[in-house]
């Protein structure tokens, strides 16, 4: 699993970690019951603070994607990928709705939009 932190991202560092671990779970780079790196080793690798890293893990635990075994570490929960994919779809739908409204504002028709998508999709 790769985690890359950007200083210029709009997301806070802990949010970047959460997003990237979610991606790794969706893309099956880490499977259910596999361990995540320990908080301290991940903090060290990413050169970020321990509290920032543990905050990211707390978010993942509270969303049910990760569980902790006291004294052992953090593990990926079972069968959460379906829920993650659904959440992702919801986000895409919301973005798409926004895009459609923008297109309507610019007086583009549905056909114009489809033509644009056809042009851009394969690029």
């Amino acid at each position: 699993m790769n985690i890359v932190i950007s200083n210029t991202s709009n997301l806070a560092i802990y949010e970047q970690i959460v997003a990237q671990i979610k991606d790794a779970i969706i893309n099956k780079e880490i499977m259910a019951d596999e361990p995540l790196p320990s908080i301290r080793s991940l903090a060290r690798d990413l050169q970020i603070s321990v509290i920032t890293t543990s905050r990211a893990y707390d978010v993942l635990v509270s969303e049910g994607l990760v569980y902790s075994q006291p004294g052992k570490g953090y593990y990926v929960s079972k069968s959460q990928t379906k829920m993650l994919k659904e959440k992702r779809l919801q986000i895409i739908e919301a973005n798409m709705t926004q895009l459609i409204n923008q297109c309507k504002g610019a007086e583009l028709t549905k056909e114009d939009m489809i033509a644009m998508i056809n042009l851009l999709y394969d690029n």
């Binding site: 050169q47 603070s49 920032t52 905050r55």
Partner: protein
């Protein structure tokens, strides 16, 4: 999780009165295995606080404990490694002689660890302490401190004289200490970018008073930078404690979770909000020199 962790450094109601400066009622608490950054303008009291913790200057009031032991006790001093601008080392002696003379005071002193660090930091044991540059003195002090396995590392402006390459290595070393050896680290710096990434806790002093002591995450969450047009300045309620930077076209300030903005939340959209870095936090929390 945080509740079960052992406190490495605890400062309670620490006060130091000089004839022309007072450090007022400082309270900080740093658990083992975390990094705390100490920030503030020149003359804000950072060095006084550090020297009081190290018992190099006698505090006027308050309590300081190191791993539960009063900081004046030998056991407490044995647990602390430090880097100061003017260390206790002898100017006319070499690095090796200084290390030998001062290493004897520490129960866990290791000559071989020291030699490894000196080599790694590109120093030579025959160099005279007085001949070292500011950055080299810091490297020597760091090598010395790490060679007696401190449980708490306290540093006053350690990165000031460092070149950018060593500064990165230095931050790496600190992270190794907190992540692998559970050492606690307290250091003051003007280079707030050092702290943006690695610091867990930030304590800020201004004119001898503690402005805040909290986790960096709390700071960044709770004190967004607000920018807006000049005419909207009136939407900020009276008594805003922060510095407000006004320009011809607008203004910029930090607000604690909007709670000093007007209650009408629709007006908030007139401002842009962004995540602050520590330099911005330090700027807006400091008393302005000229009003």
């Amino acid at each position: 999780m945080m509740d079960t962790e052992k406190i490495s450094l605890e400062v309670k109601n620490l006060t130091k009165k000089w004839s022309d400066f007072t450090l007022h009622d400082i309270n900080i608490s740093l658990p083992e295995g975390y990094i705390m950054g100490l920030i503030g303008k020149n003359g804000s009291g950072k060095s006084t606080l550090i020297n009081c913790i190290l018992d190099g200057v006698k505090k006027s009031r308050g309590r300081v404990s190191i791993n539960g032991v009063d900081h004046r006790r030998v056991n407490a001093k044995n647990d602390i490694g430090f880097i100061l601008e003017d260390g206790p080392f002898f100017m006319d002696k070499t690095i090796a002689e200084n290390a030998y003379l001062f290493g004897r005071f520490y129960s866990d002193w290791s000559e071989s660890t020291f030699c490894n660090y000196i080599y790694q930091f590109e120093l030579r044991d025959y160099m005279r302490y007085a001949d070292l540059s500011k950055g080299m003195k810091t490297k020597f002090q760091l090598a010395f401190a790490l060679s007696h396995k401190p449980r708490l590392l306290i540093m006053d402006e350690p990165t000031g004289g460092m070149d950018p390459v060593f500064r990165r290595d230095f931050l790496n070393i600190l992270q190794g200490l907190v992540c692998d050896s559970n050492t606690a680290v307290l250091f003051s710096t003007h280079i707030t970018a050092d702290l943006d990434k690695v610091a867990d806790f930030i304590t800020m002093l201004d004119e001898g008073k503690q402005v805040f002591a909290m986790t960096k995450e709390e700071l960044i969450d709770n004190y967004p930078i607000i920018r807006g047009r000049r005419e909207d300045l009136s939407l900020i309620k009276e008594g805003c404690p922060m510095r407000v930077r006004k320009t011809s076209s607008g203004f910029e300030t930090i607000l604690e979770n909007y709670n000093i903005l007007s209650e009408d939340s629709s007006l908030w959209e007139r401002f842009t909000k962004s995540r602050p870095n520590l330099e911005e936090i330090m700027y807006f929390f400091s008393e302005p020199l000229i009003q």
